[in-house]
């Protein structure tokens, strides 16, 4: 079981992905954009972060970039509707563990979480 910070502005996606995470036995801390996730990280240390990309106030790529620039090594998995090939390249180069397009396959997402937790950054 891991504590997962799930960052997504969509209540629909938080519900759908949250169901997958709960079925995998994980505890979820929700946040609705990168800015509020950064605030939460001042007082919370999750084992892993799952982040959307296109969000108001602070998008997922900026959030990822800020975390890595601060030396934060918590594994991050991106889950996004953006199907562009280089979006994945950009996220992996910034230190994301994996990228899934929405809607992610539940089993694949849970497997990626296990792999990311084992590997770290």
């Amino acid at each position: 079981m891991a504590i997962i910070l799930h960052v997504d502005d969509s209540s629909f996606s938080r519900l759908q992905i949250g169901k997958v995470l709960k079925n995998g036995g994980h505890e979820i801390i929700p946040a609705d954009n990168g800015k509020s996730a950064l605030e939460l990280l001042r007082t919370t240390t999750p084992d892993l972060i799952i982040s959307d990309i296109l969000m108001p106030d602070m998008d997922g790529i900026t959030f990822l970039e800020i975390l890595r620039n601060r030396g934060n090594t918590i594994p991050i998995i991106m889950v996004t509707a953006d199907v562009q090939k280089d979006t994945e390249t950009i996220c992996l180069a910034l230190g994301a563990s994996a990228l899934f397009n929405k809607p992610p396959n539940g089993d694949d997402l849970l497997a990626a979480i296990v792999q990311a937790l084992g590997k770290g950054v």
Binding site: D9, S10, S11, F12, S13, L15, K19, L54, M55, P56, T80, A81, D82, V83, Q84, K85, D86, N101, K102, P103
Partner: protein
């Protein structure tokens, strides 16, 4: 403005088909129901006619999600549903899992995210084929007639390429429409990218 030859139009239709096919595949995964697609209709509209063209559309109140995109080419992608289809779609997606809360907010949130996912699938697939990286603005949900919603957004547009395609979840009588409006100015860049993709 670039001239669209028959070959270019054919390539454009095929690229749009691939993008819409990707969106239909995504909707199929979400709903576990077969999605039927129609061949896209492509129209070039001049700025002076854009308002009139949109105004000719039905005055029916619709459920719309808009997702602006920009990059080598720019424009507005829109997902449209009748109010009835939008309600059926939310019911199918949420099933009995509708959480306690404001039903309108849940419906809005669900439809906005569906629009985000489907429109990204269409526009992103087109960008991938044309090797053009695009940026997106936040998707927005609207309720109203197409004219009342789109005309204020499109006021600053010049000529546009309108691509319309319909998809249906036949078993549930849900029909949606994807409307792409490419700004001219960036439209020429779009055609250049298309020519490059065709000719290598």
């Amino acid at each position: 403005m670039a001239i669209i030859t028959d070959d270019l139009m054919d390539a454009l239709r095929e690229i749009i088909n691939i993008g819409v096919g990707k969106a239909a595949g995504t909707l199929n995964e979400l709903l576990a129901h077969h999605i039927t697609l129609e061949v896209p209709r492509i129209v070039i509209i001049h700025s002076n006619d854009l308002g009139e063209h949109i105004s000719k559309r039905s005055e029916e109140t619709l459920s719309l999600v808009t997702l602006p995109f920009s990059g080598q080419f720019s424009g507005l992608s829109t997902l449209l549903f009748s109010m009835d289809s939008a309600s059926k779609l939310v019911d199918m997606l949420m099933g009995e899992e509708i959480p306690v809360g404001d039903l309108d907010a849940i419906k809005t949130g669900t439809l906005t995210e569906i629009g985000n996912i489907l429109l990204n699938a269409v526009v992103g697939s087109i960008g991938n084929i044309l090797n053009s990286r695009l940026s997106y603005s936040i998707p927005t949900y609207h309720v109203g007639s197409l004219r009342n919603i789109l005309l204020p957004i499109l006021q600053q547009e010049s000529e546009a390429l309108e691509v319309t395609t319909r998809f249906t979840v036949q078993s549930r009588h849900i029909t949606g429409e994807i409307l792409l409006l490419f700004k001219v100015g960036s439209f020429d860049s779009f055609i250049e990218a298309l020519e490059t993709a065709i000719n290598g």
